[in-house]
């Protein structure tokens, strides 16, 4: 399973995305599915940097991607603050432009682009996110 560890900094988002995108394409995903994996990973890594570590700092993100006959699975590990996806508010889009909320958009994009998403707290210290994209 290809795996890499990145410093949790915004300037590394492109490198993290390149890592998953190139591996997704090597695994045979088409351009659209590979983009979905790339965008979801970008949003997840951004949330880790912003909310888990409170911005650019010394935190780490471990990223692994595994392919099988049905698709690819991306797993992100971090050691930042606990993340509870159930506490992110559901956005209401039937509102005027001025009131349109953006909190939670990243999570909505992750769920919209990927076929399966699971967050879990690692006993002890850390967060684990599994995202799967089918072929």
């Amino acid at each position: 399973m290809p795996k890499a560890i990145f410093a949790a900094r915004y300037e590394n988002l492109a490198r993290i995305c390149e890592f998953v995108s190139s591996n997704a394409k090597t695994a045979g995903l088409d351009d659209s599915a590979a983009y979905a994996v790339e965008l979801a990973t970008n949003e997840a890594a951004t949330n880790i940097i912003e909310h888990g570590y409170g911005g650019n700092g010394d935190g780490k993100i471990e990223c692994a991607i595994e392919a099988d006959d049905g698709g690819v699975t991306v797993v992100l590990l971090d050691w930042g603050k606990p993340f509870d996806a159930s506490k992110v508010p559901q956005a209401n889009y039937s509102v005027p432009l001025e009131d349109l909320p953006l909190r939670g958009v990243g999570l909505r994009l992750i769920r919209g682009f990927m076929d399966e998403v699971q967050f879990e707290r690692i006993p002890g210290d850390g967060n684990r996110l599994m995202m799967r994209k089918s072929r």
Binding site: Y10, C17, S32, L39, L102, V105, R108
Partner: protein
């Protein structure tokens, strides 16, 4: 990379490559500079934008809100790719954004 072209009645902002949390401040600065100068008819040429994250979506939404607060102001998009259109749709912005096939048709739309 972000470039701004000032036309007679509208302004065109063109970016290329990735727009994520690292690069989106440059895009926001380009739009803010125009809005602060009283320019509020804005076209975002996305023909060379390959990737748009939620932070880029946030810049577009905030820019559009500011542009529309003035008479006949708006931010419209030219030539976003299909992946970006899906991102805007999932983010709830497709209802609010006018999308054109190219800059020429976007200029004519104002």
């Amino acid at each position: 990379m972000v470039e701004t072209t000032r036309l007679k009645k509208v302004d065109v902002v063109k970016a290329s490559g990735r727009i994520d949390s690292h690069s989106s401040p440059e895009l926001k600065e380009a739009f803010d500079t125009l809005l602060n100068d009283g320019r509020n008819k804005l076209i975002f040429d996305m023909s060379e934008v390959e990737f748009l994250s939620s932070s880029g979506v946030w810049v577009l939404l905030e820019t559009q809100k500011r542009a529309r607060r003035r008479s006949k102001g708006d931010l419209v998009l030219a030539s976003p790719n299909d992946n970006i259109k899906k991102t805007l749709d999932l983010a709830g912005l497709m209802h609010f954004m006018k999308i054109f096939d190219g800059v020429e048709s976007a200029v004519a739309g104002f």
